[in-house]
């Protein structure tokens, strides 16, 4: 009889070969994972790298034309006088209307002085890595290329950046308008989607009979979760911006200076977009409430709604809220539908209600990224850091909420 099974030497040879192959594959699997982590690291590094670094700039007007004191030693009062004397009356009044000049901080006034009177002209910017590794070379290059230029290490992400409105000069632009716009949008979206989404989830889990209609609704919700966000943008454009214009522009309520491209339209579009996510998450949360609770409630004679309101929903609430926060962070980062619905490209006044024009943080980041000048890339990076910190805070809240209220049945 012939033995097909390899023996002795042949066997061990084959075995060690198999183990060799096993190790190779294992290394491949692990390196795929490392590559994913590396990409994340590279992305974060890239953003931080862009937000700090050397900047070479020239003064268009010499500071000595306005004052003899060095710029950094100017007091608030001196700055006020300089601005009042040198700005045109109209421009000064406009600024005063936005925020009374006397109540502004010294840093704010100094910025106005630099922006409006001296007028900084950025020649070149460098990333953080370049600035650290090639600092000396950058200084020399600047000296030969722009003998007039000053060079300094600048953090583009400053407190000033957070509170300044949009500006056409990158050095003075900020994200206040955009952040406020984003908060409005997300607020409207969640106010719309949370009650409806929870209601839909309650219906599907607690009320819906097992029939074809229910299964169509369920399949449909799962599908909506996979529809590209830009398609929701088109829906919002057709329905909220165009069809419901009298409502979304506020002309129904006597507001006349806008068209349908308002915060309200965008917020409702976002609401429709996150609705499937909220429903699916709420369904999971409701599913996790044990049946014994319902049966106990029915057993003492409670109606279906009493059972849902007093027992199912309170127990599912942490899960529903966690899901909503995740949906919220999705809405915060969405860009494409906002472009389609018609975010304003340049807007420097704070949104003052649902019927104002809007911009949002991701929209600003998009616009700054697509500009050719490198100083706009630097503020795009700073904007991204602001966005990521906001998202991180939201997600951390969601995780805390989930752990804190996690109930074991």
């Amino acid at each position: 009889m012939q033995n097909h099974f390899p023996e002795n030497e042949a066997f061990y040879k084959a075995l060690s070969k198999r183990y060799g192959i096993a190790t190779v594959w294992q290394i491949l699997f692990l390196s795929a994972l490392l590559l994913a982590i590396l990409s994340l690291t590279a992305l974060i590094y890239n953003v931080i790298d862009g937000a700090f670094g050397y900047i070479a700039y020239e003064y268009k007007n010499d500071p000595s034309e306005f004052t003899s004191t060095p710029i950094n030693e100017l007091t608030k009062e001196e700055l006020l006088t300089i601005l009042k004397n040198n700005l045109s009356t109209g421009a000064y009044k406009k600024l005063d209307n936005e925020q009374a000049m006397s109540t502004r901080s010294q840093a704010d006034l100094l910025n106005l002085f630099l922006e409006r009177l001296i007028q900084i002209d950025t020649k070149q910017t460098w990333s953080m890595t370049e600035s650290i590794l090639k600092g000396e070379k950058i200084r020399q290059e600047t000296k030969t290329n722009y003998p007039e230029a000053r060079i300094e290490f600048r953090s583009w992400l400053t407190p000033q950046f957070l509170v300044s409105p949009m500006s056409s000069k990158a050095e003075f632009a900020g994200v206040r308008t955009a952040v406020l716009g984003s908060l409005w949008l997300v607020g409207i979206a969640i106010a719309f989607a949370l009650p409806i989404g929870t209601g839909a989830a309650v219906y599907l889990q607690e009320y819906a009979p097992k029939n074809w209609l229910t299964s169509i609704i369920q399949t449909n919700i799962n599908n909506l979760a996979g529809v590209p966000s830009i398609v929701y943008g088109m829906l919002g454009l057709a329905v909220f911006v165009r069809w419901l214009e009298p409502f979304t522009s506020g002309s129904m309520f006597g507001i006349t200076d806008t068209n349908g491209r308002t915060i309200l339209s965008a917020g409702l579009t976002m609401g429709i977009l996150v609705l499937p996510l909220i429903i699916i998450n709420a369904q999971e949360a409701i599913k996790a409430v044990p049946d014994s609770l319902r049966q106990a409630s029915f057993g003492v004679g409670a109606t279906r709604w009493q059972t849902v309101w007093h027992h199912v929903l309170p127990n599912a609430l942490p899960g529903i809220l966690t899901g909503s926060i995740l949906a919220l962070s999705r809405a915060l980062g969405e860009t494409a539908p906002l472009i389609v619905v018609g975010a304003s490209t340049f807007i420097s006044v704070d949104p003052d209600g649902p019927f104002s024009k809007f911009t949002a943080l991701p929209i600003q980041i998009y616009q700054w990224t697509t500009r050719a000048q490198s100083e706009f890339h630097a503020i795009a990076a700073s904007g991204i850091i602001v966005l990521l910190v906001l998202l991180l805070t939201l997600n951390a809240t969601a995780i805390l909420l989930r752990n804190r209220f996690k109930q074991k049945y």
């Binding site: 198999r18 529809v227 057709a238 709604w305 991701p362 998009y366």
Partner: protein, 301 residues
């Protein structure tokens, strides 16, 4: 004598609440209908235009609505190229990550690694766009020289692959962990190594779930907007060459609708025709993947 009436009483408030909840549930159906109706209505206006024919639309390779060229292939070619690159990257990597997480990693390692992947999945796409344009493209240009254009489909596709990776890996991992332990134990008992078990026993058993992950991944890649709008180029260009700039369907919609469009212009209606196509393609892909997942689930339960 007390008189209890134990029959069910009609309660107005209860039925009212039930109706409201039903309306909330049915709203999602209206959303879908509204999408189909609105996109369809405007797309119909577009196709009713005397210059536009179905044949031209689906066979032309030039997209210039202002001078009467309506060839959707100019945009589809870029969508196909970027999506292909993205899947080419994310499928093998995502699968490898999934196998590592489900077959190799200890519980502790998993609890550290999974949140990292979730962070990757939660980053807004506009941030990926920034990354593609200002990090990946310069690196590609350093490696391959100036033949790589500033806007190119390669870097957009690569970054899109990174974006889709967590989706594919988490769906594949679910599929892999749904494979019963008994299959693995049987393989180990036969003397198979861990890799042989993973690749020749567990992977084939989870193939349908992985297929579903692939399909969802494709649908995500086709519908992704911001990365391609930022990094892939702003102008229709019929090419499959990844080092060139070309505009995808989504990128085109984003760029054109960003400006002030007059309603009923051919530019406006053509966007809805493109969006309708996008919607139908992703709808079909999502339906297929759901069908696959459901079938797969039945088999092991």
């Amino acid at each position: 004598m007390m008189n209890f009436d134990l029959r069910k009483k009609p309660r107005l408030a209860e039925s009212l609440i039930q109706t409201l909840l039903f309306l909330a549930g049915i709203l999602s159906i209206f959303t879908t209908l509204a999408i189909v109706y609105e996109l369809g209505k405007e797309a119909l206006l577009f196709f009713n235009n005397p210059d536009v024919t179905f044949v031209k639309f689906f066979s032309g390779t030039k997209w210039q609505p202002s001078i009467g060229n309506y060839g959707i292939w100019a945009l589809v070619s870029a969508t196909l190229t970027t999506s292909f690159i993205a899947i080419f990257i994310s499928l093998p990597l995502g699968l490898a990550v999934a196998i590592y997480l489900s077959e190799y990693a200890s519980l502790r390692v998993r609890s550290i690694l999974k949140p990292i992947l979730e962070v990757l999945a939660g980053i807004p796409t506009v941030v990926y766009g920034y990354f593609a344009l200002l990090f990946v493209t310069p690196i590609l240009q350093n490696i391959f020289g100036e033949s790589i254009q500033v806007y190119n489909m390669l870097s957009a596709g690569l970054v899109m692959g990174i974006m889709i990776l967590p989706l594919i890996s988490s769906m594949s991992e679910d599929a892999l962990s749904a494979v019963p332990r008994s299959l693995r134990e049987a393989a180990f008992a036969m003397g198979a190594t861990k890799v042989e078990t993973s690749l020749q026993v567990v992977l084939p058993a989870a193939l349908s779930g992985i297929g579903a992950a692939l399909i969802v991944g494709i649908s995500r890649a086709v519908g992704e907007t911001m990365i391609v709008a930022i990094a892939s180029g702003a102008g229709p260009n019929f090419t499959f060459n990844p080092i060139q700039a070309a505009e995808t369907m989504t990128g085109h919609i984003a760029r054109i609708s960003g400006g002030d469009l007059s309603y009923n212009s051919i530019d406006y209606t053509s966007l809805f025709a493109i969006a309708l196509m996008l919607f139908l393609v992703t709808l079909v892909l999502n339906l297929i993947s759901q069908w696959v997942v459901n079938r797969f689930r039945e088999r092991y339960e």
